[in-house]
């Protein structure tokens, strides 16, 4: 291993940590969260995400099904008949910018946020 290998490794660690920080940072500026379910690039449905909602959505495509559960402000894919089960193993997501992808079914579950601050307050 040469000196430049070590520099490369350190650089990549720094860049990826910075990238993770950016992803997290972008997520924390929102006060309203939504769950979007996207199938093959087009939006299938959209739900508001907060702690009170408990909802189970079954998404059926011609390739198979995914059961998506929204609960306690978190989203997870509970069950799927896809071959790699990556979407199920991904677990829960709860912050804007986080995303669950089921590649075989072309299903994307993502959390988006919007910062609907009040424009002005009059008393």
């Amino acid at each position: 291993m040469t000196k430049y290998d070590k520099i490369l490794i350190i650089l990549v660690v720094l860049v990826s940590l910075f990238g993770m920080y950016l992803v997290r940072e972008r997520a924390s500026n929102y006060n309203k969260k939504y769950v979007e379910i996207i199938i093959d690039g087009t939006e299938h449905s959209k739900y508001i995400l907060d702690n009170t909602i408990d909802k189970e959505i079954e998404v059926v495509t011609d390739k198979g099904y995914n059961i998506i559960h929204i609960k306690n402000g978190q989203v997870l894919v509970e069950e799927s008949d896809c071959n790699n089960q990556l979407c199920v193993r991904k677990g829960v997501i709860e912050e804007p910018g986080e995303i669950i992808v089921c590649l075989p079914h072309k299903v994307v579950v993502q959390i988006t946020g919007s910062s609907e601050d009040l424009d002005s307050i009059s008393y």
Partner: protein, 172 residues
């Protein structure tokens, strides 16, 4: 080098690479990210890049992705692995050819892993028309450091043995 022996050697390496791809397909990974893999076949690709050159290792890699497509029969994952394979081998070639004074095989293989991940995630975001998938990249870069390191480290041994065999019998 004798043409038939050369051909046989490439076929053998391709078979090894296919085997390793199939093998890593059954190994479950602790993280769930699209296209995250150990990169075991990259050991073969990297060593053949060093020993046989760019064109032959590119051939091995492309034939490997096609054979894995035929065996596993998953056209979507074929698209990812194809782009990943082509981009990673181009990155490794450039680094090995022009910057081998600076980087050892470990560095070369890390570059290959980074290019592989970038290409796969980019392909996924194009296919799913969703740029948010790119948010997987930082995590995958971190992981590819480890896999890239071990692939590069073990490639050292393969290259050594391959060269020994090739020079001993004067096939070159």
């Amino acid at each position: 080098m004798n043409k038939t022996r050369n051909f046989t050697f490439l076929a053998l390496l391709t078979a090894f690479a296919v085997l390793l791809s199939l093998f890593e397909n059954i190994i479950p990974l602790p993280i769930a990210a699209p296209g995250a893999k150990l990169g075991l076949p990259n050991m073969i690709i990297l060593s053949s890049l060093v020993v046989f050159g760019f064109k032959k290792s590119l051939t091995i890699n492309i034939v490997r992705t096609f054979l894995v497509l035929i065996i596993i029969g998953n056209p979507i994952s074929f698209i990812y692995s194809f782009f990943g394979a082509v981009f990673s081998i181009m990155a490794m070639y450039i680094v090995h050819r022009y910057f081998s004074n600076y980087f050892s095989l470990i560095g070369v293989s890390i570059f290959g892993a980074l290019a592989h991940n970038t290409a796969q995630v980019a392909t996924a975001s194009v296919i799913l028309e969703n740029l948010n998938i790119l948010s997987y990249l930082p995590v995958m870069y971190l992981i590819s450091l480890f896999t890239g390191f071990f692939v590069g480290y073990s490639s050292n041994f393969i290259v050594k043995q391959l060269n020994k065999v090739l020079y001993k019998t004067e096939w070159r």
